[in-house]
Symmetry: C2
Subunit: 281 residues, 2 copies
C-alpha cells in the first residue's frame, strides 16, 4: 500500500490510472477506522482494480464548538488496517494543502441539507459537499463508497454528484453494528462506560420502529413519537432530533407511502451519536 | 463536426476520450458567435486533439430582470461558424437537462465574486461557477478557453478550478475588438446606431488610462476618476461601475504595485456592456 500525502501526486496518479482506463474505487473517510470503514474498503477493492482510501479530518465540516481538535486519530493503526483489507493507496493530505490561504470555493446542496443534521450543524453539509467534490477530483474514482450511518450525508452526496454531473457511481453500504446493536462510529470512543451502555437505546428504538410498521402502523408522526419516547426513557440520552421522513427527499410525510427514514441524533454526555433505519413498506 | 445535445452522450464521449488519453480543449460559450468566440475555438483546436464547443445560455447566471429571454440566438449560424474553425463537437444541451426538476447544487466562490459585476448582478457568478463546473464534468477537458472580456469571470473560474482541484488547465484569451475598438460581445447587437457609436468611449477611455500610467500616474483612484470622467462626458453612457483594482484579487489598491485591472460596466440604453484593461507597470 502506498501512502500519498501530496495532493498533486495523488491527482497525477489518479489521472494516469484514468487515462489507462483502470477503474478506481475510493472510500473517503475521516480515519480512526472500525469495521464500518473496512467494509467500504473491502467492497471498493472487490469492485475495482485499485482501492484508494482517503483519510482527512475535514475542518470545514466541523462547527466552531464541535470536536475537530479532539477527533480521534491514529495514523499508524489506520495504515495497518487499510493495508490489511487490500487498500492500494492511502491518501492523507494535510489540511493546508486542501485549504490553502485564500481558499474561497464551496459547494452548497440546498433542500436536502436543511433538515436534521443540517439544522443541528449549520454549514456541516456545505463542508461535506465541498471536500467530497475535491476528493473526487483528486482521486478520479469510477466508484465511491460511503456508509449509510451518515444517511443524510449520502443523500447530500447523491444530489451533489448528480447535479454537478460528476462521473462517479455512488455505492452506499449498510451500517455495521456492534454485537449489542450500537452503530459503529469513530466517536464511540468518547463514551464513558455508562454512556456506552445507554447508547444501545438508539438501535433498539429503531428496530422497534420497524416492528411497529410491520404490525400495521402507517402514521409517520406516531412512529416518530414511539421512537422518541423510548429514547426519552433513557436518562443519559439528550435528544437532538428524532425524525421520520421520506427516505429520498428527507421531507416530512404523513402516511408512509415510499420507503421511510427514521433518523436520530442524540447526545450522551459530550458525545453526539447518530443512527437511522430505512423502513420499506 | 458532431452536434451533441444529450448530456449523457456528451459525458460518455468525453470519458471515452479521456480513457484513451486524447486531450480535449473546451470553449464554453453562450453562443451568437463573434470573432472573440472563434479565437477561443481556434486556439482550443490548435492546442488539443479534439475541440469541444459548448453553447448554453445558462439561466442560473441571469438575474430576474436581465435579458435571458432576449439573449440573441442563432443555432444554424453558430453551427456553421464553429465548424468553419475546426470544432469537432458542438454541445448544446437543453436547459431542462442541465437543471432537471429538483436541482439544488450550487458552487459559490466567495471574495472574488463580490465586487464589480458581483455587486451589480447578485448570484451571477454563482450561476457561472456552477455551470462551468458542470460543463467541465460533462466535457472532461484537459484545457479550457475563456475570453478576458469577462475578466472577473476568468478570476472566479480560476479560483473555483484551483480550489476544487478540477484537473483542467485554464487558458485566458485576449479581448477581440471591432476596428473602432469596441470589445466584441454578443450583446452589441442590442445597440442602436447612436448607442453603438457612443459605446466606443469605453475602449478609448481604457486606452487613455494606459497612457496615463505610462506617463507616470500611480494612484489607482486618479486613474479610475480619469476613466470615469471620460465616460461621463458621453451623454448616452450610464455608468454601472468603474474600478481600478488589483488584477488578481480584484481588491481595491492605493498605489499601483502589481498589475492593475481597470474594469468598466456601462449601460447604453437597455444594453449593459463591460470592458477592461490590465495595465502592467
Amino acid at each position: 500500500m502506498k501512502i500519498i500525502r501530496d495532493v498533486h501526486e495523488m491527482q497525477r496518479t489518479a489521472l494516469a490510472l484514468r487515462e489507462k482506463a483502470i477503474p478506481v474505487g475510493v472510500a473517503p473517510t475521516m480515519g480512526y477506522f472500525h469495521d464500518g470503514h473496512l467494509s467500504l474498503m473491502r467492497r471498493a477493492k472487490h469492485e475495482n482494480d485499485i482501492c484508494v482510501v482517503t483519510l482527512f479530518v475535514n475542518p470545514t465540516q466541523f462547527g466552531k464548538n464541535e470536536d475537530l481538535s479532539k477527533y480521534p486519530r491514529n495514523e499508524a493503526r489506520d495504515s495497518a488496517m487499510a493495508e490489511s483489507v487490500g487498500a492500494d493507496i492511502l491518501f492523507m493530505p494535510p489540511p493546508e494543502a486542501m485549504y490553502p490561504a485564500g481558499y474561497q470555493t464551496f459547494v452548497d446542496v440546498e433542500e436536502v441539507s436543511l433538515p436534521m443534521c443540517g439544522e443541528s450543524r449549520p454549514g456541516h453539509f456545505r463542508g461535506v459537499a465541498t471536500v467530497v467534490t475535491k476528493l473526487f477530483m483528486l482521486t478520479q474514482p469510477r466508484r465511491a463508497y460511503f456508509g449509510l450511518k451518515d444517511y443524510q450525508q449520502c443523500q447530500v452526496i447523491r444530489r451533489m454528484t448528480g447535479d454537478l454531473n460528476i462521473p462517479v457511481d455512488l455505492v452506499f453500504c449498510p451500517i455495521v453494528r456492534e454485537p449489542d446493536g450500537l452503530a459503529m462510529s469513530s466517536r464511540n470512543v468518547y463514551l464513558t462506560k455508562e454512556e456506552r451502555r445507554a447508547a444501545t437505546v438508539l438501535s433498539r428504538a429503531l428496530e422497534n420502529a420497524r416492528r411497529f410498521v410491520e404490525q400495521g402502523q402507517r402514521h409517520a408522526e406516531k412512529i416518530r413519537d414511539f421512537v422518541k419516547m423510548q429514547i426519552l426513557a433513557e436518562p443519559l440520552a439528550v435528544i437532538d432530533y428524532v425524525e421520520a421522513v421520506d427516505a429520498q427527499s428527507l421531507q416530512p410525510i404523513g402516511q408512509i407511502a415510499h420507503p421511510m427514514l427514521v433518523a436520530v441524533a442524540v447526545r450522551f454526555g459530550k458525545t453526539r451519536l447518530i443512527d437511522n433505519i430505512v423502513i420499506e413498506i
